[in-house]
């Protein structure tokens, strides 16, 4: 049985032997999974979709097959959101990240179900991953007004100058989300990017994009300004190089990239001297996302610029 017929079979009321139509259980209202760009939920400009299957092979939904134009729109939205988001106080960003955790908690069962379906996991495992994903927002929320205490400095220069260095957001950051870990992996890469004031354009997992789309629905209602996070679903072979080569993207988290694509992506990223985080040698799908090492203030540091300021001391 093909996945398509499976879906049809699942959704149609069972036929009865005498031909009478039985009492129908309520027909589910399905969700349309859309892109998230500039705080809105457009369909892809291509008007195309691709089928997303569960780990068992059941058809879950049609996802948008995003395009280069969608990436461009997302980058423009991210760039537009950058001045406002980066100018917010660290305390404010901290509260907003915490708010994401609050709203995810409210949709916890939905995320667990989606992770189960996407990743083919039992309820226990999916629950652990979802809880860790929510807790990861809380963990990073606390860093927003603290990481500069680690990465900033007052520099005792050899002269009569006041000299200090502070971290600032790099700008628009492209994120190639891990392919396997649809929710926890994504959040583990996204939270450290936006917490410092960057705006993100995320390529969701190609085969497991649905939890990411649901996450954007949480973001849209969590006081995260539109454009701070933008999500594109689609086929990586049609999207990755356009994101890597976009001249208005300042940094690229290629952690979720298939390492085999590393050379082409890195070469393109060099065209405008993007800051680049490479995929781990064995690929991101070998990472244990529940491990404490999957969260780190050093990861925040990958997407900030150090600005050094000098001023004379005198009367």
């Amino acid at each position: 049985m093909s996945p398509r017929t499976k879906l049809v079979a699942r959704r149609q009321p069972p036929a009865t032997t005498n031909g009478a139509v039985p009492a129908v259980e309520r027909l589910e209202v399905r969700k349309t999974y859309k892109l998230y760009i500039g705080g809105e939920f457009p369909r892809t400009e291509s008007g195309r979709a691709y089928e997303v299957f569960s780990a068992r092979g059941d058809l879950l939904a049609n996802a948008c097959r995003g395009t280069r134009k969608d990436i461009r729109d997302a980058v423009r939205a991210a760039r537009a959101a950058l001045p406002g988001w980066s100018a917010k106080t660290a305390f404010n960003r901290s509260q907003i990240l915490y708010r994401i955790a609050e709203l995810m908690e409210g949709r916890r069962d939905q995320f667990i179900a989606e992770v189960m379906a996407a990743e083919g996991l039992g309820r226990r495992r999916a629950t652990r991953l979802t809880d860790a994903a929510i807790d990861r927002w809380v963990w990073y929320a606390g860093w927003a007004d603290k990481f500069s205490a680690l990465t900033g400095s007052v520099n005792p220069v050899n002269g009569s100058y006041f000299n200090f260095s502070v971290p600032e957001p790099t700008g628009v950051v492209g994120i190639i989300a891990p392919e396997g870990s649809s929710l926890l992996g994504l959040i583990s890469r996204l939270a450290p990017v936006i917490l410092s004031g960057n705006c993100a354009v995320v390529l969701a997992s190609e085969s497991r994009p649905l939890p990411a789309v649901t996450l954007t629905e949480v973001l849209a209602t969590s006081d995260v300004p539109g454009g701070v996070v933008n999500l594109i679903t689609g086929l990586r072979r049609e999207l990755v190089l356009h994101l890597a080569g976009h001249m208005d993207v300042n940094a690229l988290d290629a952690y979720g990239l298939d390492p085999a694509q590393g050379v082409a992506v890195e070469e393109l990223a060099t065209e405008n001297v993007k800051r680049l985080v490479r995929p781990p040698a064995a690929g991101a799908d070998t990472v244990d996302w529940l491990d404490q090492r999957a969260q780190s203030p050093y990861l925040i540091g990958e997407f900030v610029e150090t600005k050094t300021v000098w001023h004379p001391i005198g009367s």
Partner: protein, 507 residues
Amino acid sequence: MTLTKKPESRPAAASWGLSKRGIPWEYAPAPESTDHVEIRREYGLFIDNAFGPSRPKASFEVINPATEERLSRVAKASKADVNRSVVAARRAYETVWSRLPGSERAKYLYRIARIMQERSREFAVVETMNSGKPIKESRDVDVPLAAAHFFYYAGWADKLDYAFPGRTPRALGVAAQIIPWNFPLLMLAWKIAPALAAGNTVILKPASTTPLTAYLFADVVRQAELPPGVVNIITGPGEIGMELVRHPDVNKVAFTGSTAVGKMIGRAVAGSRKKLTLELGGKAANIVFDDAPLDQAIEGIINGIYFNQGEVCCAGSRLFVQESVYEPLLDKLKARLSTLRVGDPLDKNTDVGAINSAGQLAKVAELVQSGIAEGAEIFQPDCVLPEKGFFFRPTLFTGVSQSHRIAQEEIFGPVLSVLTFRTPEEAVEKANNTPYGLSAGVWTEKGSRIFKMVAAMKAGVVWANTFNRFDPTSPFGGYKESGYGREGGLHGLGAYLDLSSDGRNGR
């Protein structure tokens, strides 16, 4: 180098008590003596603490850009030589340097710092002869700062465990380091000091026009009795640098130079696990508000663009003046420009020395021609340039628009483009309108405005009411296409360490 267009108007210099020729008196020559400096007729490659010829044997000439006379010949490395140097560095890393306690590495670096201080004048003279920069700069800036870098990073070598909370820092291994010709010794120090402190061994490739202080530094390595192979120095053309970058046994690449070459290096390491830091070009905005202390600002503007003949990646090459003070500032600036002494770099009174090479001089001249052709108005003092050598008059352009090449491209010469603005917002918009983001300057007496401007500048270093200050404790490096990674301070140390949680330079 002659100009096609004569300067047309002279500034009103009355307030300076200056004559039409700028300075109302003549300076007697005050040349720094060179008799205590020995430059060998030939230098081989420095591998495993020994100078030896390249294989196959080849060499090229190194000249004094102020006289165009030959100073020496240096070996031209081959691909095989690159490999030899990497093998030497690897062996030293595996057998000696990585096994040495940090406290011992520290003492070697302190030794180097001290020897550089002891031999400071020798370094300054050779630097000036080879680069064309004024002796007062090499003597007072380049050499002391270079020694200070070694002294600073020496102290980190045995304190790495305190530097990065939650991490166990590990050396990366073999570092390939490629440096430019504008600050040959200082860039050597910026590269080698943190690399060795972190426990790496290095292969340094100086620029082909300015290898002499690097080879003099090799003698410091010998005097300090560094283990063979810890510091290797090879010379050759750019392709040899690329061979070094591509070498599979290199773990870290650090490059200072042009953005175009930086991108080539970025492509060359693509797909490898090599850690890369880039310090590339710039087109810094120096912004003067109407409440700025003008005389102080003038000195900062002059220092910002004519320091080291403007051959500075962070040079304040775009001056933005608030319209209300444009005329008085420009009068003062032209008057001050006319007092700059251009000439023999070894003369202690020289302010502007020689451009580093004929090629660079041609590039500067070409861009200046483009400024004239695109309609900007040129001003140059009519100082007398030496007959030989690669000299160029300090130049400023007014009537520059944002789209002019002289407002967009890095000139890397003593050429200032003057633009104007009305509001702080306009200044920010114009200042950030460049792919570069290395440095910026802000001049105003208003504290709150300083911080607003500082925050708005997309630049890695912002000098407020000063310009072109450097210190080993102070991180330096760019935003956007000016590169990534920082040199100096704790940030500069981290660039030479594996700070991953798994010890595989992952994350």
